[in-house]
Symmetry: C2
Subunit: 309 residues, 2 copies
């Protein structure tokens, strides 16, 4: 049996890093030879989490084939969000909570997806199904991933399974998840130290919609005005990225994690499709989206539908 790498998506968020570690732990216990790696540096929130639980940062890799013949994906499946040379290796396992798109294999594989708030919620169930105990430190990481993805169980992506997992993991980790959760989320919203490019690119993901290349980033904040005051810089950064990377449309969603509202910043075209998707009019390349906090559930599907209809 040859070694496999396990990793989450590019521009990793807490779930991408943590789910790789958790799945690698589980697969190791089940007898596989695997290593959790990451496709980029951890963000401020993830660094806080790794530091809090005294866990090492995974090794960062840019290509798989030089090391292995097969890989396991967590928290993503779309090739443009994955490792650059994905087509050169076989994917043997996927654990994910996103739509399935442009993901093709030539052989059967292990694929586990559920429409829940976080990959780490699915992994919590898989530990249970396989009768493998979750160590306290790993439970703390997985708890952090669920808090991150669901904004402390407030996002509309939150399901009953996420709530059950959070309670079980908080007990194993022996943590008051409400107090810890707010501390952790705030640690991820220090935008002042970020350049405009870092801000729009932080956890941006690429999508193909009706043949157009669409880039969608999201930043969390506790004060939307902080982000709005940087609009000219944000727009310039999005335009520069579009031109250098060939994106047709670049969208940045700034989300207030305390009151669950977002502000949308748009660069590129087609603008009318964006307006149709969110039933709004852009003013000064910007629109308020009250109650929108989830890229996956409240931004990607309406945009995809608007592109296709």
């Amino acid at each position: 049996m040859s070694k496999e790498l396990v990793f989450g998506h590019q521009n990793p968020d807490t779930d991408a890093i943590v789910a790789a570690k958790a799945f690698a732990y589980l697969e190791t216990k089940l007898g596989k030879d695997v290593e959790a790696v990451a496709l980029g540096e951890p963000n401020a929130e993830t660094s806080f989490v790794l530091n809090y639980f005294d866990e090492p940062t995974p090794r960062i890799v840019k290509a798989a084939k030089p090391e292995v013949d097969s890989v396991m994906l967590v928290d993503h499946n779309e090739p443009q969000q994955s490792i650059a040379d994905l087509k050169d290796v076989a994917v043997t396992h996927v654990v994910d909570h996103h739509r399935i798109a442009d993901f093709n294999t030539s052989a059967p594989l292990f694929y586990r997806a559920e429409p829940v708030g976080c990959t780490s919620t699915i992994l919590t169930k898989m530990f249970d199904e396989n009768k493998v105990e979750i160590p306290a430190q790993l439970a703390g990481l997985m708890l952090s991933a669920i808090i991150s993805d669901t904004l402390l169980l407030q996002s509309p992506t939150t399901t009953e399974d996420d709530k059950i997992a959070v309670k079980a993991l908080a007990e194993i980790a022996d943590i008051d998840y409400q107090t810890y959760g707010i501390q952790m989320l705030k640690a991820g919203t220090d935008l002042d130290s970020k350049s405009d490019k870092e801000l729009i690119d932080g956890d941006a993901k690429s999508f193909t919609m009706a043949g157009k290349s669409v880039r969608i980033g999201q930043v969390n904040t506790v004060d939307l005005q902080d982000v709005i005051s940087r609009q000219s810089g944000i727009e310039a950064a999005m335009t520069a990225e579009r031109e250098s990377e060939g994106y047709d449309l670049f969208i940045t969603l700034a989300t207030n994690i305390l009151d669950s509202n977002s502000e949308l910043f748009v660069s590129g075209a087609p603008v009318d499709v964006v307006e149709k998707a969110f039933n709004t009019k852009l003013e000064n390349n910007r629109a308020s989206l009250p109650g929108v906090v989830s890229r996956k559930k409240q931004v990607v599907p309406p945009l995809q539908n608007a592109f296709e209809n």
Copy 2:
């Protein structure tokens, strides 16, 4: 909550029919409003199984959208193997043991695939995970599906999980699976009553390989000479189907389920790709493939690779 249909692939085999019934039973127990249906008439083997366990044949449907807005797929995911109007409905659940190809969704979903011999093996685990008991009659059906897909645990697709499931299900159903299994497999090999068209089309599936439309059928037999003696009729039927349906290449695999060897019949082009895939030379549009019994594991992957390289 609105009703959903659950079904397996076109040209249903025993697993396609049984997995739909089993998953519908499980989802009903979990509170969903679902109905198991089929995309075609049961074959001779499946009819034997339904009759043996005194189970009704599922209703046959040709379209989903007139009845429901969303569906659950078992034992397949590739759209060209599914219901004709799949693109008009949402897929909320998939339970499958095949490669993933051309399967795209706009929203997250429940997807459970494992590289095991049979969908019913995965479902056996899912009943256990969800702490739902399998009734004896249903256990008999699921046991039959695994025996069918793995040729009584002899196919190279057979895994340890299939063996564990067969033992558990045989116990619940209170059946000697070896004796029953041979009886069941033989019931599926009565080819004399089939026309040439029925023979090549019985459980044929469509694939897209490097842009070419490839149709691959498989018939089980206890005597390959029975099939070889019908070669001219088989070739004429494949040519007629290619012309009427626009397939580039039509392959029929005749498999001796007693000694695990196959004979390959080929119609259309490119023939050199077929020869490369199986490292053989066709003689009289035919080749022997010793030890080949699995379309999924021993025919589709090498053919796909030969097309793409």
